[in-house]
Symmetry: C2
Subunit: 413 residues, 2 copies
């Protein structure tokens, strides 16, 4: 499908020195359903000349230019000046903004830094900020649109969602429901496997737009479709979704903002089942992930991280003979760990992880990345799983966490 071009300009000295930039996926997910794709992203410091240059560069290339950051009250917040410079316009004082700030903060006189926040580029439409003092601005020079947003996620996010889609739809005369996107969340397939499986779908629906994002043992498959009417778009989206789900089956664990810990946790809550963990090589990472979900105390009772062999035998009750015969990295040990955790926490289900995260400790028979899992529960014979993950220690740990969460999901659903 044909996307219009958008250009993202992120401003702030930290973005060209010490900070990772996580704006792109957030903006991209918001822009694709509006029929725009980010053609280029630029990060520049707090330098109005450099900002102006990038804004002009963006306007030459794309229909929509978004700036993000540099609208704060301090001396180094210079995006307003940069955009004004690019357009050869003045910054003027907005009485409207002044009235709103006075009202919201119950002030009779504005302090100097608040006065800065009332400066608006001549001709701009102001966007109110529900979570801060920086106003957003929208300008429409020629047939293009510039959207000027504050940097903090809790400010620009709600501001974008409240105002920008409407403004974009109106200005670019988009039809309601003309474009829609879906993000399918997949576990237990490698990227190349998923690509191969999904190729027939992509061939059958060549008009849709597809991207795959690989995580640690999990994937995200995004597709965007365009239709002539909202009903047509919805039908196309659902046709592609059905085709994907038919191929991927139970490997699809959710959609949109779903995470594995949320989906698995929700299943436990729905079934009123309780869970305990026995971790070794993940060191507590599986419990950490599960407890990232608010309200997880309803079903997650706790876990034992048995990093030493002694902890495995003395606390979880793994038999010494099991360790002698099979070693701590074995299906037998994983099974006894899970069973031990279930006894200890008196839960409906328990799961375990034991493996070699590396970089040391691997042998020819048991290489780095080899991980055993077990899941046990009421009315369930203990089941074990083996996986061999690659890359570094952190990745092997993270893949193991996702694998055990997914194993629990498949068993409890």
């Amino acid at each position: 499908m044909n996307f219009r071009k958008a250009e993202l300009i992120c401003t702030g000295s930290e973005l060209v020195s010490v900070k990772s930039n996580s704006y792109v996926p957030l903006f991209s997910a918001r822009l694709r359903p509006l029929g725009f794709r980010i053609h280029r992203e630029h990060s520049v410091g707090d330098d109005p000349k450099a900002i102006a240059k990038m804004v002009n560069c963006g306007l030459n290339n794309a229909d929509l230019v978004i700036t993000c950051g540099g609208l704060g009250p301090t001396f180094d917040d210079l995006t307003r000046q940069g955009v004004a410079k690019a357009l050869g316009r003045k910054l003027i004082h907005s009485k409207y903004a002044e009235r709103i700030l006075k009202n919201n903060y119950n002030l009779s006189v504005l302090p100097l830094n608040f006065r800065n926040q009332c400066r608006i580029i001549d001709g701009a439409k102001m966007l109110e900020n529900a979570n801060g003092t920086a106003f957003g601005q929208i300008l429409t020079p020629g047939r293009k649109m510039i959207v000027v947003l504050p940097g903090p996620g809790n400010e620009w996010g709600p501001m974008f969602d409240a105002f920008v889609p409407g403004e974009i739809k109106e200005f670019f005369k988009l039809k309601e429901g003309a474009v829609r996107m879906l993000r399918l969340k997949i576990a237990g397939l490698w990227e190349t496997q998923a690509e191969k499986l999904l190729k027939p779908v992509m061939r059958r629906f060549p008009d849709a737009d597809y991207t795959i994002l690989a995580g640690a043992g999990i994937l995200e498959f995004n597709f965007t479709v365009a239709g002539k009417t909202p009903a047509d778009t919805a039908k196309k989206l659902s046709t592609v979704e059905k085709a994907c789900r038919k191929i991927l089956g139970n490997a699809v664990y959710g959609a949109g903002d779903d995470t594995l810990e949320k989906v698995t946790g929700t299943l436990f809550r729905k079934k009123k089942a309780t869970l305990a963990l026995a971790e070794s090589c993940t060191g507590g990472g599986a419990g950490d992930a599960i407890t990232d979900v608010p309200g997880s105390s309803e079903y997650f009772m706790g876990g034992v991280t048995a990093y030493s062999d002694k902890a495995k035998t003395e606390i979880l009750g793994v038999k010494k003979s099991t360790l002698l015969k099979h070693g701590a990295v074995s299906a037998q040990c994983a099974a006894e760990m899970a069973e031990g955790a279930r006894r200890l926490f008196k839960t409906d289900y328990a799961a375990s992880v034991t493996g070699i995260a590396g970089p040391d400790g691997g042998t020819k028979e048991k290489p780095v990345g080899l991980v055993y899992f077990a899941v046990t529960g009421k009315d369930l014979r203990t089941r074990t799983f083996t996986m061999t993950f690659r890359h570094d220690r952190a990745h092997i740990k993270r893949c193991s966490v996702n694998f055990v969460l997914d194993a629990l999901r498949k068993i409890i659903q």
Copy 2:
């Protein structure tokens, strides 16, 4: 101090759609000691025309242009073409590269995708890849330098470190030791506190360059100095470092690539002391962090994540009367959790965390973000700590993990 300008171009469709960009801090930390700062970063898709445009844009603005990504063997790896286009040069087959690939992979005939990897921009110097098949390239059109690197961190990182500083120093005639950077790692101070404390240092040494990066309860304070001779630079660096350390004292937990879990772990290993954990609100996150360090099994025996009250009393031996009188989120409960973990795992030391990670569960007396900690050990009266952290659940959990690691560091050192 005066930095030369560098321009970073990151290529790959995922970087303008679904993926966060973490290149900047990694490149910045490598470029500052060479006297370069990143003036702008650009992300573009796998589109040779767009890449060529950004390369030319970069050459017009900066002395050094670095591209990262798009050197793989597949059809959508197009950075070589983009850079060649920008310079109006041809791609030619490198027999040298062919020989190396044949040698490294024990091949008599190169498969097609390997042949792609042997294409080099006319006039470029090739950089060998210790961890992959994509060669890096260095070009020096006019008085500028272009460095073409592969995208994966385990490929470009070692390649950069092995070749690029030397090439930059030679081409730009940098004096050895003319610029040096130090990253001080700080725990237990808010960003504003650290800024206030360090202001006198920054005023006393205005020639140095400073940045602060805030994490979850931890900070990084970076400074770069330039000198006339290596000895002069070293002296300046050490003077600024001493001044910082004098002010910050024990809040400095390390430098460079040190992490809290590595520093604390190293202390445990040196003292041949063992550690166990009892976690509640962190859900296993502290153990996860500790076991991110290779070899942590030497000192970390394990932990109990006691998410439910029952797990706290039955497994860790917290008194029911303590829960009734003080609640699970209390100094008393934290102390008994740590003591219980130490008994259970028979370790020299144990630490605990119990708090309210939110968003629900807070009261007026015990708000979201309130977290209690305890550390206990041989020859040590159990000590407890209270903190109130802000922001969201994930941040509160991460701050709690760092706090307990830092408390352990301070007690064992």
